[in-house]
Symmetry: D5
Subunit: 93 residues, 10 copies
């Protein structure tokens, strides 16, 4: 079941650089583990912004929320979620 | 080069059913040809709306505009385009 | 799996009264069948508006979209969908 | 009398963890007592957000405001309230 | 129980003048009957707009919705409702 | 001459409690004096928010601005003002 | 007493040219009479739009509403009004 | 003197094709004459939209408004204008 | 050449009172000098807000920007600018 | 390939003046180097704002993002990007 997720990162400008680096490293590891599992099949950078659009493929709303609220950057992000359905013109089966 | 495109269809409620059906059939054929070519790799229905989110993979802004303005439903849609870049955490090479 | 759905009805003011009545009767029957099935457990009128907030309880995004796009009033409504998850303070098990 | 309430929590990122934990514990106890009383029959997490949609069932606007402004998280939330009426298609009596 | 209600009238510009006059006359009679009953204690014109802000004083959300949806101008208005509570600084008892 | 005024209070979360209490006490006294003078005939709490809708009845725009900018909470509020006129359906003379 | 008024004209594209010309001629005469009376001291075109910003100088909210709702273009305009007060830095006495 | 202008074309879907073609042909000729004169140095299509961003280089606000309101598509466009100044980092003299 | 300028002042609530007073005194002097020069012919307070609407009359976009960015309150304001043209109904020559 | 980019600078008001000056000097050097390379052919100040509109001419979305995220002011800016295509009325070849 697919969802389009927009994540907009708002790191405080006075966050110490080392702390920011630590959070970003954890975020990257967490994201890549989920990408490899197939639950986070796509992630793109929005050009010009510290933000991404991602596709998630999970079994339920609860599973998606659990994944998102455990993002290391979660306290610093505004996230919005659009549930997706199969499009009748989609050629993939 | 990837773009996230949102298409929101606003067919006039008084459009004759046969005319609407004709436009939708052309739209489907046009979309599926582009999907098969690899230029329109993803299309999802937005749940509850006559709208879709799509990913396009084209060589330039001009090519994308050319594809979009030739959509049979183009005169009846509001379209917005977000240019995408590779995300540094993306595990795909 | 729960979703909060907002439906805002925009019937054209020049729609013949008998036609409007026919669509509304079909909408009511369709809604009540889904309510009785357990897939549409709650529906409330927004005070002062020709609109409702509803809770849907379905198995997937696809099932919800299929239900919504078959609403007899679908061509006359603006619909927005918010996916819901279990709240950690919810006392219901 | 029903109301749909949206609560969006904006905890300052520099709030000490122990203080935040204390407020959240009080919030949970307060919410669960009201849920058990029947005045707060539904609470759902918005997927991907530190926010909830809730249904309140109270005797008056004043009673609802009194409940909401005593939420331990009240100083840290943006709250919006939609008054609800019975829907003519509702099958529940 | 008080509510602040905003009504914005959007009469189609091609509505025949006699029909518009008939609806407005019914609206005025309906409004004045409710004003005299005490349920619609205040109505003000918004300067420069075909719109009003009103105060309603009714027993429930359902009663307010019933009053509003029976307004003769209801099909031509956008209405929004804000539930009000007693203010702690209010000097009226 | 009537005006609808919306006041939305945004006290900094780190304002010392005693200082906040002092400002609120001054605000209450100032408001009640104006209510008793007839210049501030109505004040209602917006349900669920630290905000109010008020009616002011003053002789001029200048007088209203003078009253509002002297509110002890003025530096912490977002205020918006809607000028009101007599409504042709108003039964009060 | 001054007010800043924004008027945005939305003439239907299918309004017959002669009818449109008649309304505009009446509008111009009505506006110029009020300008000469001193009640409408300033009117500017918004660059690129069929819209204007104007200053009105009248005795009350009621007088301003009466002037605005009698504009020949009133049924075709969206109007918004901002009440103005004397600025403490204004050098004019 | 430079201005950034955004033009969003909203042709009625029921405008006869020949009439639309006539207006567009006049628009193109009018635009190209101004481009060649140096007053309209840049025009770009917004990808995916029937809209453009343009740069105008004219002597005054009045001249710009005169140019814009004489666009053959003016009755069918929403136009917004941003006045531009020289940027201190601009390397062009 | 006229421009309508809206300035919304957002002084930090923790700015020391003496520092704020100093900036405001400079702002007043700067504004009054420009008013006397004829370049800032009108300034009005927005009722209920720490904001003003002003009319500027300058020779170019660059001159206006130069004036505005030198306002002592510039770092604390949100400013928006609307270029104005002569209105065809304006009776002033 | 052209893009319209809007950059809105939000420097914290408590950033030390010397630090701000250092960042701005680096920003200017970085911008001018890119202007001279042809990748940033236009930059204009938005009148009255600490913001600019710029045109970028680059080979890909990735190249544009790379340029933008390396702006010394990037952590202090809100940036939005509009992809542009050749306009059919453009007289330049």
């Amino acid at each position: 079941m697919k969802y389009l997720v927009h994540m907009d990162v708002k790191l405080p400008v006075d966050l110490p650089a080392s702390e920011a680096a630590g959070i970003k490293a954890k975020e990257k590891a967490y994201s890549q583990e989920l990408q490899r599992s197939g639950k986070w099949p796509e992630i793109w950078r929005v050009v010009g912004e510290y933000a991404n659009y991602s596709i998630f493929d999970v079994g339920s709303n609860d599973e998606l929320h659990d994944i998102l609220q455990n993002l290391p950057l979660f306290p610093y992000m505004e996230i919005s979620v659009v549930p997706l359905a199969k499009h009748p013109s989609d050629v993939k089966d």
